[in-house]
């Protein structure tokens, strides 16, 4: 990962919590645990909570490292967490991924309470997909629970998880993009305004979103410090159960949107499809990429083929339906080296947050060893008017190896894109494509796909 760093190597996304921070040294990621956090860290490790959470796949495992701290005066311990293969953000997740991240957070909180601890934050950014499961990556998220104390992360949970999930399920699935604008989650007054009024009849949404939003407005700035110590454990259990059941009842089922049934409406035969799979498998097997980005992956058929070579595959698409289907299949098959993600290539995730350094742009989390761009070129070059040399330049920055499919103008899918517009693409030919890409890449293979007019290439950026 190329997350920007400060001078001490401290990662720029890791500055808020006084308990410690992440830093990188010689390419290895460490987390400094500050003296301030000694008691909590001890409780986490000694109470058995750490072991239970790691065993359940809910917390990232770590080892204690014999390293000096990056800011040694404050350092109590240095730990080395297991490396997350690819960092992703909630605005890149499908509905199911965000829901699983929410349920994992609540499950962690319930387990923590049993061990006398409590989550002090409930940020969606603290959850990552590791071996296919939503996993907490911030080992320093726990505090010692004192009976009577409310859940300090309640507001954050509602903003990061409940509000976007409710909006996605009950208003429009695309509203997860609000998370890209509001880095600390969807403001509850906005969620309350956008949700259909019938959601006031749902007890969970009425209380945790609508009344919650009104209370925020009404009691803004009120001094509540004297009220600490008035929420017993039973009340905490009730609150967590209510959040859990409210989240569980929110559902969104992928319907027939743009690409939902893409593979049923494609214009190529089974033989062409099988030939493409065979070529992708063969070339991935030859290159053995550690990290593959499948761009425009649809429901991930070719991502899975590429993944058989053993690397980690980020399988991205612009369509929430395809990403949801991909995620459900991944979960069902317990695939560990695949990460379905929502990504609009015409406007990929930018770097956002404080000083624009907190959350990396998509390309900042690369480059990949291999990029797959199958049945994609025509969408970018024709629908989005990207000139071929610019496309080649873009793809060369994203990965060393490129498996790319050229779909000629005579193809009925391309004809469809041109049906309602002028053909202003005189260079969109096989020759034009090859000459543009040769500026950036060495073409190792160019194979005509059986029973089709398409050509599949294996290229290496030069």
């Amino acid at each position: 990962m190329t997350n920007p760093k400060t001078n001490s190597g401290q990662l720029s996304a890791s500055f808020r919590d006084p308990s410690g921070f992440l830093f990188s040294r010689d390419g290895i990621l460490y987390r400094q645990v500050n003296h301030k956090y000694e008691q909590e860290y001890g409780r986490l490790m000694e109470s058995g909570l750490y072991d239970k959470l790691v065993k359940a796949g809910l917390l990232i495992p770590h080892i204690e490292a014999d390293q000096p701290g990056a800011e040694s005066a404050a350092a109590y311990k240095i730990i080395q967490p297991e490396r997350v293969p690819f960092i992703s953000y909630p605005y890149e997740w499908s509905f199911g991924q965000l829901k699983d991240a929410a349920l994992a957070t609540l499950s962690i909180q319930r387990r923590a309470l049993k061990a006398g601890m409590s989550l002090k934050d409930a940020s969606a950014y603290n959850i990552q997909f590791v071996r296919g499961k939503a996993t907490l990556i911030d080992t320093l998220s726990f505090e010692v629970y004192k009976e009577g104390q409310p859940w300090v992360a309640y507001r954050q949970f509602c903003q990061h998880f409940l509000a976007p999930l409710a909006l996605m399920a009950l208003r429009d699935v695309r509203l997860n993009q609000l998370l890209r604008v509001y880095i600390d989650g969807v403001p509850l007054d906005l969620a309350s305004e956008l949700l259909p009024s019938r959601t006031r009849l749902n007890f969970g949404l009425l209380t945790h979103i609508h009344l919650h939003a009104s209370a925020q407005k009404r009691y803004s700035g009120a001094d509540v410090k004297s009220r600490t110590g008035t929420m017993n454990k039973q009340a905490m259990t009730g609150l967590l159960e209510s959040l859990d059941s409210t989240v569980r009842k929110l559902n969104w089922n992928p319907g027939g949107t743009e690409w939902g049934n893409y593979y049923d409406i494609t214009n190529y035969s089974d033989a062409a499809f099988e030939h493409k799979k065979q070529l992708v498998g063969e070339w991935a097997g030859r290159v053995k990429p550690a990290l593959v980005w499948d761009l425009g992956a649809n429901n991930g058929v070719f991502s899975r083929v590429a993944g058989e070579a053993g690397g980690y595959v980020v399988s991205s698409d612009v369509d929430p339906t395809a990403v949801e289907q991909n995620y459900r299949q991944m979960k069902g098959e317990k695939t560990e080296n695949l990460l379905p993600l929502l990504l609009d290539l015409t406007n990929p995730s930018p770097s956002i947050g404080w000083a624009n350094l907190e959350r990396d742009a998509f390309h900042g989390r690369g480059p990949a060893n291999m990029v797959l761009a199958l049945a994609l070129v025509h969408h970018l070059a024709i629908s989005n008017n990207v000139p071929l040399p610019q496309l080649a330049d873009f793809l060369a920055k994203w990965g060393k190896w490129l498996v790319i499919e050229f779909v000629p103008k005579s193809d009925s899918q391309v004809q469809k894109l041109l049906v309602s517009r002028e053909d202003i693409f005189p260079t969109y030919t096989r020759e034009g494509f090859e000459s543009a890409f040769k500026q950036q890449f060495t073409i190792h293979e160019a194979v005509n796909v059986h029973e089709s007019e398409r050509v599949l290439y294996l290229m290496e950026s030069s």
């Binding site: 808020r16 919590d17 499950s107 387990r111 919650h212 009104s214 925020q216 009691y219 509540v224």
Partner: protein
């Protein structure tokens, strides 16, 4: 500004108060359920599943 022993994230005054209210209500429910299962226990009716998070089934 106060820091210790307050949390490093601001829980928000309104969020804090509404949480106390909702949780008090929901806590009552938990208490009623616990008493109810105790009463059922007197008649030999066992609770359906062990309420142990470690046995929590995998999410579907």
């Amino acid at each position: 500004m106060h820091f210790a022993p307050l949390p490093y994230l601001d829980p928000g005054s309104g969020s804090f108060l509404i949480q106390l209210l909702i949780a008090a209500l929901l806590g009552l429910g938990v208490a009623v359920r616990a008493s109810w299962s105790r009463i059922k226990g007197w008649f030999g009716i066992k609770p359906k599943a062990a309420d142990d998070e470690d046995d929590e089934p995998e999410d579907k």
